[in-house]
Amino acid sequence: MNTEVVNSYIPIYVKAFLLTLKIGWVGVVLAFILGIAGAFVLYFKLPVLSALTRAYVELFRNTPLLVQLFFIYYGLPVLGFKINAEVCGAVGLGLLGGSYMTESIRSGLDAVPKIQTESAVSLGMSRSQTFLSVILPQAFSISIPALVANVIFLLKETSVFSAISLMDLMFTAKDLIGLYYNTTESLFLLVVFYIIMLLPVSFAGSMIEKKMRFKMFGDGKHGI
């Protein structure tokens, strides 16, 4: 492997990395918002909205992101909506992620004992107050492993952005290989930058999980 080539490529990768990170995180935040909203609807079994949420979750969970992106990027302009590639990537990722987050948060919500809702309601709290202050924080700490897995999955899915000509990490690597045939160096940097992006997420996830679980359940060594 030629270190000179690697060094000269680094600035190009950094640029692609920042773009990937930006779109990835906008998508992840969008996914969380959609997931919380979807889980709220399913948890309280709101009429009509529940059916719509179910349909949304099944549609986006059971189609590949690439197909969704094509649909948004090439399909919407046909219907008269112009959309740029970055927005398309973030929205596509957010919609896909929202379907996964909805399911993960909902399963966490279902694991919170019903008495928690009843005590909150008995204290006069409204449905949304109960949801946001009592049920959701507990559901989150139950769902953290699933949520972290979703975030990592979503950030990795950004690799299909190249298909809608976004200059993300994958696009950059493919481009460089096509131009200069420095395959080893290009792929090496690709792996390194994905790891730089994802390793902190894994670590942060385990730390948050430990902290939240400790608050609620202690270190697990002492029974009550």
Partner: protein, 237 residues
């Protein structure tokens, strides 16, 4: 004592599909009155409390309350992700929109009163069952409800912790709080009650003062019910 009716239950009927759990229940609580509901397991005592504070829909009749109710459940139901102080302050801040300093001050005073001020910063998992129930009582109290509902609050406790919780409730009775208490602790019921309601098969069988109920129960069913406790105490000794 004022003669104002705080809680009035009027011909209440509760059904789960075809199964009638409570049938034509009527009674009322005056301000400052302590009423204890006793009866065999499955007689509908807990359901009655849940109907009163709106956790269950009722099929017939009416429940009228002057103001709010506060309820303490059998299972320790504190919010596990919040500290003791946060547990107490959540509803006053969110629901009543009271000032933080004022709520915190009251929370600390009430905790001191039940002997738990030192636990304010701890999480529920660090408390014993009896301590959790005392916090749960304070959490209901701090909302200033007109009526307090207690649903077998000592039933899940280890025997040595029952007393500390019952003492808190006795203390509340002395402060003329209006309370409706479901319990299996007969000695406590006798000591705390102004009136005893005996529920069996979803109906009110007796509604009388504690001396009459425990001393000379009118109905055969009440006699049989009270004898089960005598048998238990004979067995235990």
């Amino acid at each position: 004592m004022e003669e104002k009716e705080i809680l009035k239950v009027d011909h209440l009927t509760k059904k789960y599909e075809d199964l009638t759990v409570l049938e034509d229940i009527s009674f009322s609580l005056k301000k400052g009155e302590v009423v204890v509901v006793v009866g065999p397991s499955g007689c509908g005592k807990s359901t009655l409390l849940r109907c009163i504070n709106g956790l269950e829909e009722i099929q017939d009749g009416k429940v009228s309350i002057e103001g709010k109710t506060g309820m303490v459940f059998q299972s320790y139901d504190l919010f596990p992700h919040l500290s003791v102080l946060q547990n107490l302050m959540l509803a006053p801040l969110k629901v009543q929109k009271r000032k933080k300093e004022e709520v915190q001050k009251e929370a600390e005073q009430l905790l001191e009163r039940v002997g738990l001020l030192a636990k304010a910063k701890q999480y529920p998992r660090q408390l014993s069952g009896g301590q959790k129930q005392r916090v749960a009582i304070v959490r209901a109290l701090i909302m200033h409800p007109e009526v307090l509902l207690f649903d077998e609050v000592t039933a899940a406790l280890d025997p040595e912790m029952v007393r500390e919780v019952l003492d808190v409730i006795m203390d509340l009775a002395k402060q003329d709080k209006t309370m409706l208490i479901v319990t299996h602790e007969m000695a406590f019921a006798r000591a705390v009650a102004d009136r005893v309601i005996f529920l069996d098969g979803g109906s009110v069988i007796e509604d009388t003062d504690p001396e009459n109920f425990f001393g000379s129960p009118r109905t055969e069913r009440a006699k049989r019910f009270l004898r089960t406790f005598e048998f238990e105490s004979v067995n235990a000794s």
